[in-house]
Assembly symmetry: C3
Homo-oligomer: 141 residues x 3
């Protein structure tokens, strides 16, 4: 199938959220133009103390437990930390951002995100007061 | 080099596997159409308790140790977990899925995956009984 | 916006670095052709004991702490490891590579990488003596 492709880009902000894991699939879709029949959506967060991921969209207890799990993996106030000037949540936020990742790529099929039944897009906010987070969406189709 | 691009997509299932880390490069290639001269392959798993990764393709002991390493990073039956109804392997599986990631992107060069000598594609199965896993492959070239 | 796309690829080596986290944004840009007005850059490291990530580009203490954090998450010389023939840094390097990830995708806007103010590209070298690391850069625009 040989087609002429297009690539479009949108930059926008997600509303500020408290520290934790937040389902933002619908908020992101509201910022996007119509999606192509076949393509990919790349979402990139322009910050080093937050992340994007894809995970369970139904039971909110999963998102609660994510906060506990990640805090155990990267605890605050470890004696080995040297990057401490920006608060006890800052260095753990940087580490979590690289562990989860600052971008996701999602297939687009028949003009829609081709997610599994139980999949949604997470904004992972690792700072206590992160503020609005800036996203670049690139659509290739 | 200005060329007319194409984008194709295949959705398929990987055979069910037991909990652990499995080399699936060849099984995935069997589901794909001929690859372009220059491009990328995006593979997306439509589940929240499994992951895709790229790692060592030679010594099976690496895949054995991956299971130990990841179980230490995200243990089962932690007292802080609230999402426990689907089994002790379920919440850890969600966390591992976001830590490893549910998609990979691989360069395609001269019609082949441009992997390093020691690289292969892993299906990371985090559930005790995960069943067949659904993949969306998008090829842009 | 319907445009004719192009896709180009460059394969190159990053200079060898010691174990740790290294800012390589400028070294990578030197290997790339002019970037498109709108597009994405995909960077893929052809190794299973190193990774690419995006994180803090200003304060070097973040990169120092990354080494401590990741060594706590995946310690060396755990009694459960069976893949030990290639040195005590080898199996942890494989695990870190899948946790951080071996590729990144960055949006390109107005002919430049569209990174946040504080974002840079990290080469994460997990081996004590990793040598030069081979990268495949694919640019779609």
């Amino acid at each position: 199938m040989l087609i002429i492709n297009f690539m479009t880009q949108q930059e926008f902000e997600l509303a500020p959220r408290y520290r934790g894991y937040h389902l933002v699939t619908n908020e992101i879709l509201k910022h996007l133009p119509p999606l192509p029949q076949t393509g990919i959506l790349h979402l990139f967060i322009k910050h080093t103390s937050a992340a994007l991921s894809i995970n369970e969209n139904a039971d909110p207890s999963v998102r609660v437990d994510f906060e506990s799990v990640m805090n155990k993996i990267v605890p605050e106030n470890e004696s080995c930390y040297t990057h401490t000037l920006e608060g006890s949540d800052d260095m753990p936020a940087h580490a979590k951002s690289s562990l989860i990742g600052n971008s996701i790529t999602v297939p687009v099929t028949n003009g829609r995100l081709n997610l599994g039944t139980w999949q949604g897009i997470y904004l992972c906010e690792f700072r206590n007061h992160g503020g609005a987070r800036r996203i670049v969406a690139t659509i290739a189709g």
